[in-house]
Amino acid sequence: MATAQTDRLRAEVEALVSRLGPGRTSLVPVLQELKRRYHEVDGEAMQVVADVLDIHPVEVYSVASFYAFLHGAPEGRYVVRLCRTLSCEFAGKDAVAAALRDELGIDFGETTADKLFTLEWASCIGMCDQGPAMLVNEQVYTRVTPETVREVVAACRAEAATAEG
């Protein structure tokens, strides 16, 4: 049974598809936009996307689950991705990883209870000459130290508190 929420979501997806163009080529951009807005793409959202694009929901799940930046699971408002590739490892990513675990109280692959942070590993993010490097959403941080981890996390918390308040 369609709820008001589903109807709203359908209208949103239809608006996106009419902007991006009909057909399968819009699938990834639609999922990216939903992810940006809601920090997750749940089963219901996948069903709606499938209906609008006229494909099977399993196809939507198949694509969403393939890409590291697209998987449907709920994410925090800030997704912290620490590069784990060799140059960043040489540059001291383990100390940064420890600081992130400490500061956020979660391990990699987890989301904080307040839904503010998700911590993930990233494959090479192309900052190898300035490692250790990490992404916080679309913002890149280079030469990260345990000290800067604390600053960045505090800045995110302050920004979120301001937005709430």
Binding site: Y67, F69, L86, F90, V144
Partner: protein
């Protein structure tokens, strides 16, 4: 904590190219002559595979179709590679010039920059450059006043998958599918995006095209070797004093490169990223060139303090994560190789298992569907060969 997009202040030829000189020179030529010029320059794909660019364009130009596309592969995901980020940041107009020249040559009406998700922060910058070029008549209808030459460019975002740097996986991704490589033939130049003839070129390849038309084929061929013409950008990181993006002519030895970057004490150099090979110190006289050590430009300097099994483990963890899982040799093979590395680290790897894994590496290189599985065993196998004394026969850990 500041964002330093740029890398070292090394002099790059791209900074000396007069804006739009290449585009204007190219668009004065008939289409066939544009392709001939690229072919004569000897330019080979800068992403790592080294396919001759002129030949690729020629194949696509020869196809008759209602639509054609040129895609700029900005899915720079090879570990240790960041030169495309620097090019897109500092010289985006050269890349757009190269795409426009390519579009003219093959008869495409649309170019797509496939930008990796990790570089999302470059998206608005690129869109701004595209908007500016439309305003100046360098994109859009009748480009540079040439009647009937309509060409535009859009940016499409990747979603976090190393394998999408492989051109057919990239096309699958653009079409809204999982980034699983296709069987070839048909090649994209015949049947690519949405089934239409498509050229996929690396960011640096396209910038080089603009430079070649601006400065001439003879100028370009004045650098490098007979088989590897021109210059190349190298992304240098790891245990060296001056990491960053460097430009060198093809043919430079690994030792010469190490001197330039302050990495003389290295015990090994990983060339070509995770999919490349590990060059031990005794082979530093080898040359970076298609005919000796071909590379997309990733150079990771490995200092004497590093454990080569840690290096192999890091790369294999990467491949286990990034294998698309579609074909068996790659999906299972990388996991077995990682298992062998971990057993070697513990000093408990049975010689029979190691022999099996080495043979499996050969199978992967022969039987994997795309470049990922075909190259992923290289680092580990070259470490086994080059550092046997270090990695074999460790005492079992208590």
């Amino acid at each position: 904590m500041t964002v330093t997009i740029d890398s070292q202040g090394n002099a790059l030829t791209y900074a000396t190219i007069e804006p739009e000189a290449g585009l204007k020179a190219a668009l004065r030529l008939p289409r066939a002559d544009i392709i001939d010029t690229v072919r004569d320059s000897g330019l080979k794909g800068r992403g790592g595979a080294g396919f001759p660019t002129g030949m690729k364009w020629n194949f696509c130009a020869a196809e008759k179709a209602d639509h054609k596309y040129i895609i700029c592969n900005a899915d720079e995901g090879e570990p240790g590679t960041f030169k495309d980020r620097v090019i897109l940041t500092r010289f985006p107009h050269l890349v757009l010039e190269g795409m426009t020249i390519g579009g003219r040559a093959i008869g495409a009406e649309l170019g797509i920059i496939y930008l990796r998700a990790e570089y999302s922060y470059l998206r608005s910058h690129l869109n701004e450059v595209i908007r500016e070029r439309r305003e100046r008549g360098l994109l859009g209808k009748d480009v540079l006043g040439i009647e009937g030459f309509d060409f535009d460019v859009i940016v499409a975002m990747g979603a976090g998958a190393y394998v999408c740097g492989e051109e057919t996986a990239l096309i699958e991704s653009l079409e809204g599918f999982r980034g699983e490589p296709r069987n070839r033939p048909p090649f994209p130049v015949v049947a690519g995006l949405l089934g239409y003839p498509t050229v996929v070129n690396n960011v640096e390849t396209l910038a080089s095209v603009a430079a070649i038309f601006a400065k001439g084929v003879d100028w370009f061929r004045g650098f490098g070797t007979d088989k590897s013409t021109g210059y190349k950008l190298f992304s240098v990181s790891g245990d060296c004093e001056r990491p960053g993006v460097y430009e060198f002519p093809w043919g430079i030895t690994v030792a010469e490169l190490l001197r330039e970057v302050g990495g003389e004490g290295a015990k090994a150099v990983q060339v070509g990223g995770a999919s490349g090979g590990c060059v031990p110190a005794r082979d530093l006289a080898r040359r970076l060139a298609v005919e000796d050590i071909p590379t997309g430009g990733s150079v990771i300097v490995i200092g004497p303090q590093r454990d080569m099994l840690d290096v192999a483990e890091n790369f294999l963890e990467f491949f286990v994560e990034e294998s698309c899982g579609q074909c068996t040799p790659c999906r299972l093979g990388n996991a077995q190789m990682l298992k062998a590395v971990r057993l070697l680290k513990q000093g408990t790897c049975p010689p029979e298992f190691l022999a099996d894994v080495k043979a499996l590496g050969q199978t992967m290189m022969a039987a994997s569907k795309c470049g990922l599985g075909q190259t992923s065993p290289s680092a580990f196998l070259s470490i086994l060969e080059g550092f046997a004394d270090e990695v074999l026969g460790r005492a079992p850990q208590a």
